[in-house]
């Protein structure tokens, strides 16, 4: 047994173990914490598989922000009614076990059969690699996201915006729990912000800047900045605000608008929609997408339509 295989099996066991804790564990809060750990293990596995773009995205979004959103939602339930927050009527079901085992078997069969198929010539990935040089990009994932399958990305940004609007509609303003440490006057908090905020901004902008050629891009950068936004909310540097501001609304739609420009601009120049306009246009769109993603995810955590500066 080679060392690589041992590492793979160990990583796999860790992931399955964490998933079991999430799915079967008794306490809800514990399950959420284990889900965060699961996301981080998943990021390690992406790195092992040679997909650093996904590792970055899963560490920031899958583990970080999904976990933070779940925790703040759980806390909101506790604030409303501590007794009922975890109330659940779990009952084991033999049928559910059978169905789950059969489903797992089906997934394994499909996966293993697909692995045994002969390699097909002319798969999409090969086409991408063959045409990537013409676009002048170095990172094929960014190429697929913004050049070859740009419409997918446009729709993805629309989904994010729609999810935010939906959450706004569903969230009632009164008595909404807002996560903040501001009242505690902790002495190290301001130092923490002073150190982490510039660092996070720098890494975020770096990820955006190199995203065309190396692992990184708008999604990774945006979610990292959203993480910084969550930190600012927790420390009370930023506060959730009920009164919507024009600037915040503009940043929310900036990403979708930038992608629309990317789709429509070539038509004005007499080309087909979404024709490739060069690296500059991609960087422009990605920068606006990053801002949109960061703001949207931060606001989803805050649970309010806008933000304002806290006391400094």
């Amino acid at each position: 047994m080679s060392a690589q295989l041992v590492i793979d099996v160990l990583l796999g066991l860790i992931l399955v173990g964490l998933a079991a804790q999430v799915a079967i564990g008794q306490h809800l809060f514990r399950a959420i914490v284990f889900y965060v750990a699961f996301g981080l293990a998943m990021a390690v596995i992406w790195a092992r598989l040679g997909a650093p773009d996904l590792a970055l995205a899963d560490a920031a979004i899958g583990a970080g922000l999904t976990g933070a959103l779940m925790m703040v939602a759980f806390r909101r339930l506790v604030e409303i009614d501590p007794k009922q927050a975890q109330a659940q009527a779990t009952r084991g079901s033999a049928l559910a076990v059978v169905i789950a085992v059969l489903a797992a078997g089906m997934v394994a069969t499909i996966g293993l059969t697909a692995l045994m198929l002969e390699e097909q010539p002319g798969v999409a990935g090969l086409q991408v690699m063959a045409t990537l040089e013409e676009t002048g990009l170095g990172n094929p994932v960014t190429g697929v996201l913004l050049v070859f399958r740009g419409f997918d990305t446009l729709i993805e940004m629309t989904v994010l915006l729609t999810a935010f609007i939906g959450s706004r509609v569903m969230t009632t303003h009164s008595r909404l729990y807002v996560a903040t440490l501001a009242g505690f006057q902790l002495p190290l908090v301001r130092t923490l912000v002073a150190v982490i905020l510039p660092l996070a901004s720098m890494v975020g902008i770096h990820l955006l800047w190199i995203g065309s050629d190396q692992p990184g891009g708008a999604f990774q950068a945006g979610s990292l900045l959203a993480g910084a936004g969550v930190l600012l909310l927790l420390t009370g540097t930023l506060l959730p605000a009920s009164k919507s501001r024009a600037l915040v609304r503009l940043t929310l739609v900036a990403g979708v608008s930038a992608l629309c420009v990317l789709v429509l601009a070539p038509i004005l120049r007499g080309q087909v929609a979404m024709a490739y306009l060069g690296r500059g246009s991609l960087l422009f769109a990605e920068a606006l997408m990053m801002i949109s993603i960061a703001t949207t995810l931060t606001l989803l955590f805050a649970g309010r339509p806008s933000l304002k500066w806290g006391r400094t």
Partner: protein, 120 residues
């Protein structure tokens, strides 16, 4: 070999997620289980296609990246729905025939520990 190992891992996680989804009644547990199933599918989508220059195929990578963002969007929206439902009906469970408020008065101290649970 690596691919086969991770296909089996994905299958196991998918099964665990599906079981969690079927058995649990709390909406947040259902969401956690759904997210597990999503992660399993993402893993499958990356591991199964042939690698190109030793790296996973960039097209499924981009699809999974899109999927991760869609997953967090839908989770956030579902959580907002859950908080609203909790305000309205007093508990965060969906089940056609079980109302945990009624159940709590009937059964064991175990369920009570559950309900008053760890909000530490």
């Amino acid at each position: 070999m690596t691919s086969a190992v991770f296909v089996l891992v994905a299958a196991a996680i998918f099964g665990l997620g599906l079981h969690g989804l079927l058995v649990s009644t709390h909406i947040m547990r259902k969401l956690l289980a759904l997210n597990l199933m999503l992660s399993a599918l993402f893993l499958l989508l990356i591991v199964v296609p042939a690698t190109i220059d030793g790296r996973p195929d960039p097209v499924p990578q981009a699809l999974v990246l899109t999927g991760i963002v869609i997953a967090v969007s839908t989770t956030a929206f579902a959580l907002a729905l859950m908080v609203r439902l909790f305000r309205k009906q007093g508990h965060a469970s969906i089940h056609p025939d079980i109302d945990p408020r009624l159940l709590r008065t009937r059964i064991s101290s175990k369920a009570k520990n559950h309900a008053s649970g760890d909000d530490r």
